[in-house]
């Protein structure tokens, strides 16, 4: 694992009884990359991610995330990554500032650091005017950007996002991707799972899982050339059908 690599897994496998959910997958993700992790429902995406973020132990195979071993250092991984799910892990009845303070506390930041973080996030997202409002009162797009910022409150080198923008307004979705590009431009790695193929086009590189295996991995442009397709949707259909 070079200093430029943030995820490296080899032959990562997870079996449940006779069923192999993840079948010997190997890949690397570089620092600062926006990496799309794609697959149909039931292809094994969720199981694979659970292993990457320290929630599930691999049956066989090995790997490192943010410099820690996924078999032996699961707790270290959890402290050193960010995670944002599609359900926005924010507390609706807490205010914007309280949410930031809460998650800062969970990740063990000092009181001083938390104060600074509240100030920085509110300024960057232009949320000062609603700092004392409950999160429930915010429009969806703002919640989403806040959830993203909160997932990075402890300044992790990598953030995992589980289907971040499904069903969202096209213009809100674009603002959100700009936030992702901004984070990546600062050197942060973003690992995105989605089954919306148009979203895949925004990533630097994507992998496509079919029946527990990674069947393709490249830039969206190279994949389209390789499969003689005009969109990632077409690439996906050719692989998964």
């Amino acid at each position: 694992m070079t200093p430029e690599t943030i995820i490296q897994v080899e032959n990562l496998t997870k079996r449940f009884g006779q069923f192999t959910a993840v079948d010997a997958i190997s890949f690397e993700v570089k620092k600062g990359e926006i990496f799309g992790f794609l697959g149909a429902n039931g292809a094994g995406k969720t199981t694979a991610i659970k292993m990457l973020i320290g929630l599930s132990r691999p049956t066989t195979g090995s790997g490192k995330v943010a410099g820690f071993d996924i078999g032996k250092q699961a707790e270290q991984i959890k402290k050193n990554i960010g995670y944002m799910s599609q359900k926005f892990s924010l507390y609706n009845d807490l205010t914007v500032a309280q949410n930031i303070r809460f998650f800062g506390g969970i990740y063990g930041l000092s009181t001083k650091k938390i104060k600074e973080k509240i100030r920085v996030i509110l300024t960057e997202l232009d949320l000062q005017s609603v700092a004392k409002k409950p999160v429930a009162a915010l429009p969806l797009g703002w919640k989403q950007r806040l959830a993203f910022a909160v997932s990075m409150v402890h300044e992790p080198e990598i953030v995992f996002m589980d289907e971040p923008t499904g069903g969202v307004d096209p213009s809100v979705r674009r603002q959100f991707w700009e936030n992702i590009y901004q984070a990546a431009a600062k050197g942060r790695t973003v690992f995105v799972t989605t089954h919306y193929m148009d979203e895949a086009e925004y990533c630097d590189r994507v992998s496509i899982m079919v029946d527990g295996k990674i069947e393709a991995l490249d830039t969206p442009n190279n994949l389209k050339n390789q499969f003689n397709a005009t969109s990632m949707d077409e690439v996906f259909l050719k692989l998964a059908r």
């Binding site: 069903g167 969202v168 674009r174 089954h195 193929m197 949707d233 259909l237 998964a240 059908r241």
Partner: protein
């Protein structure tokens, strides 16, 4: 003949407008897509037209019947697939279908020809509880249940949300076949890329219809110069473009940036401008608009007006 008619329908929830002055007419055998993001008002409109919710203002007719005065007639003649999976999770596939047939006073056998193409895919799992099906299979079963009484009109509220790309394509193929059988279909979706599968679409946002037309005409009528810009530095390029006086809008669009300009320009001029600002650009090409470009442009106009 129009089988679904909405005339100036409005609805508010506690002073928050959900629908404002919605009017359209859907013809017999037409596949009409209502396209808009979460919260645009799609489900509210579906519930009003299927007689499950009262509008504050306006009239509506479905299959020739008034949505309030003749709601009982409408309920017999429409098939409705709500956005949330609403079948009985603990009944098997076959029991669910049989239940819906019985409720409408018919049998699976009587209308089997209508659901056959879809149901054969479910038949290997007919004894499985509906709750244990995959997302794509659940949608297929829900469609069968909405069809089993041979409705004249089909209302499908976001049938492809949360369903993977393969199942989505299969689902649209099925809708095409149903339409050929003469059933009018009103379908909603948040996915702009599904728009081209419809005969006509209505773009909806914040409770207002932005435009109604065939997807092809909507694209042809897009009248701003549009360019796709490919670069590895998307974030930096967006910032540079937004400072340019020729820019109308610059937005990330998958692998590229889509730029609309306020005046006709040659692509090389745009490339020059970005390169002069110290950013490497792979290429700049004039491109045809997609439905998503149209939506973004119209919703931007709506925002500037309000």
């Amino acid at each position: 003949m129009a089988v679904i008619v909405a005339e100036h329908i409005s609805k508010s929830y506690n002073d928050v407008p959900a629908l404002t002055d919605i009017s359209f007419a859907i013809e017999n055998g037409e596949l009409f897509g209502l396209i808009g993001p979460d919260g645009a008002g799609k489900s509210t409109l579906f519930r009003i037209l299927t007689t499950l919710l009262l509008a504050d203002n306006g009239q509506g007719y479905v299959a020739g019947h008034h949505i309030v005065d003749e709601y009982k007639e409408i309920r017999k003649k429409v098939g409705y697939m709500p956005g949330r999976f609403s079948l009985y999770q603990d009944l098997s596939v076959e029991e669910n279908l049989s239940f819906f047939a019985t409720i409408f006073g018919t049998t699976i056998k009587e209308n089997y020809n209508l659901v056959r193409d879809i149901y054969v895919q479910l038949e290997p799992f007919k004894d499985r509880p509906a709750g244990k099906l995959s997302g794509g299979m659940k949608q297929k079963l829900a469609l069968c249940c909405a069809l089993i009484h041979k409705p004249e009109v089909l209302f499908l509220d976001e049938p492809t949300t949360g369903v993977d790309a393969v199942s989505r394509v299969e689902f649209w193929d099925m809708l095409k076949k149903l339409k050929e059988k003469g059933i009018a279909i009103l379908v909603s979706t948040p996915y702009m890329d599904e728009a081209t599968r419809c005969d006509r679409i209505g773009l909806i946002q914040k409770g207002k219809i932005l435009s109604i037309d065939s997807p092809q005409r909507m694209i042809t009528n897009f009248n701003k110069p549009l360019f796709a810009i490919r670069t590895r530095k998307i974030y930096q390029t967006l910032n540079v473009l937004r400072r340019a006086d020729f820019t109308h809008s610059a937005l990330p669009f998958g692998e590229c940036i889509h730029l609309t300009t306020t005046q006709p320009l040659v692509a090389s001029k745009i490339k020059e401008y970005v390169v002069d600002n110290g950013i490497t650009v792979e290429d700049v090409l004039p491109v045809k608009a997609t439905v998503e470009d149209v939506f973004l442009d119209l919703s931007k106009t709506l925002e500037t007006q309000s």
